[in-house]
């Protein structure tokens, strides 16, 4: 946008319609509608099956991931299984990964992990629900992989210089979950109380879990 004059002086602002206005459907919007209508017309899927699948997708939330993290914090056996085979460990809690497999990366006092998909927006949806817009943004995807500490600082996360930062680029069939360090001062807390400290962003690795008040 021009930085001089008022609205009439430089007419160079963005006139594209808002995404849900129905104007100017993009290529993929048109494609999605066409495929959906064909699937229904040919009797392959019922409209309610499509609706139910969307509802199931929308119903997943970071609470699923938080439950997994809190259990790993209190149950060493589960934690060992989670790190060895994340897919099987989550299945034992009733969370199925579908065609993908889960790799859980563990933070330690020496190592901090952070997730990205530089190619698109691969994300552990089964555990965290739909990804936030910033995770899908070109800016996050291009920057976190080459200047992770600067990006983490913008999320308010300052890491000591001697902590190693490991970026995990989710480029193919694996999905990732960060197992953050259990905060100090949480020794007496129950699994459910611990789960409440585990946020979406700390399971992506851009923040650390909150400390109890």
């Amino acid at each position: 946008m021009s930085d001089t004059g008022g609205h009439d002086a430089g007419h160079d602002h963005d006139h594209s319609p808002p995404p849900d206005s129905g104007e100017g459907l993009g290529h993929y919007n048109v494609m999605e509608i066409a495929v959906r209508e064909l699937l229904i017309e040919k009797g392959i899927l019922e409209p309610d099956q499509i609706r139910a699948a969307v509802e199931a997708m929308d119903s997943r939330s970071p609470e699923g991931g938080a439950r997994v993290v809190a259990k790993a914090w209190v149950d060493p056996e589960f934690k060992a299984q989670l790190l060895e085979d994340g897919t099987a460990a989550c299945a034992s809690l009733g969370v199925e990964m579908g065609p993908t497999r889960l790799v859980v990366v563990e933070d330690t006092p020496e190592v901090h992990n952070v997730l990205v998909c530089t190619l698109c927006s691969c994300y552990p949806r089964m555990l965290l629900g739909l990804p936030p817009d910033w995770y899908k943004s070109r800016e996050y995807r291009s920057r976190v992989v080459r200047e992770p500490r600067a990006v983490l600082r913008e999320f308010g996360t300052e890491l000591p210089d001697d902590v190693t930062v490991r970026v995990h680029d989710s480029t193919a069939d694996m999905r990732y979950l960060v197992l953050p360090l259990r905060p100090a001062g949480t020794e007496g807390m129950s699994e459910a109380e611990l789960a409440a400290l585990v946020t979406r962003d700390c399971m992506i690795g851009v923040t650390l879990p909150g400390v109890p008040a």
């Binding site: 060895e84 497999r101 790799v103 930062v165 490991r166 970026v167 680029d169 069939d173 694996m174």
Partner: protein, 108 residues
């Protein structure tokens, strides 16, 4: 986790590999920033349909072993001046990897 695998993975965990510096047309799951870079196999993830084939509605065979390869950030980005030990792990299919002894370039 590796039981019942039909395909023998060509590279071992801990082995040094280089990513092919190739730029074929079509749908790739190999990010450009990692092409030509050398790293170490962190784990073998199993075998998966080749996405370059699946993207065109084909069956993705022959399946490919999928690896997680760990790269030192300083080897990936010129002038990376954060933590000297910082790394980036990338998932790569076997046909994108070549042993470090091989001549760097377009195999296959």
């Amino acid at each position: 986790m590796q039981t019942g695998r039909l395909i023998v993975a060509k590279f071992n965990v801990g082995e040094k590999v280089r990513v092919r510096d190739a730029h074929p047309m079509g749908h790739l799951r190999t990010p450009r920033y990692i092409m030509g870079k050398a790293g170490v196999v962190e784990r073998i993830c199993g075998e998966f349909g080749n996405p370059e084939d699946l993207a065109f509605g084909r069956d993705g065979t022959p399946k490919q072993s999928l690896y997680r390869v760990r790269f030192a950030q300083r080897d990936v980005w010129q002038g990376y001046d954060d933590g000297a030990a910082d790394t980036v792990d990338v998932e790569l299919y076997e046909h994108w990897l070549e042993p470090m002894a091989a001549k760097h370039g377009d195999a296959q």
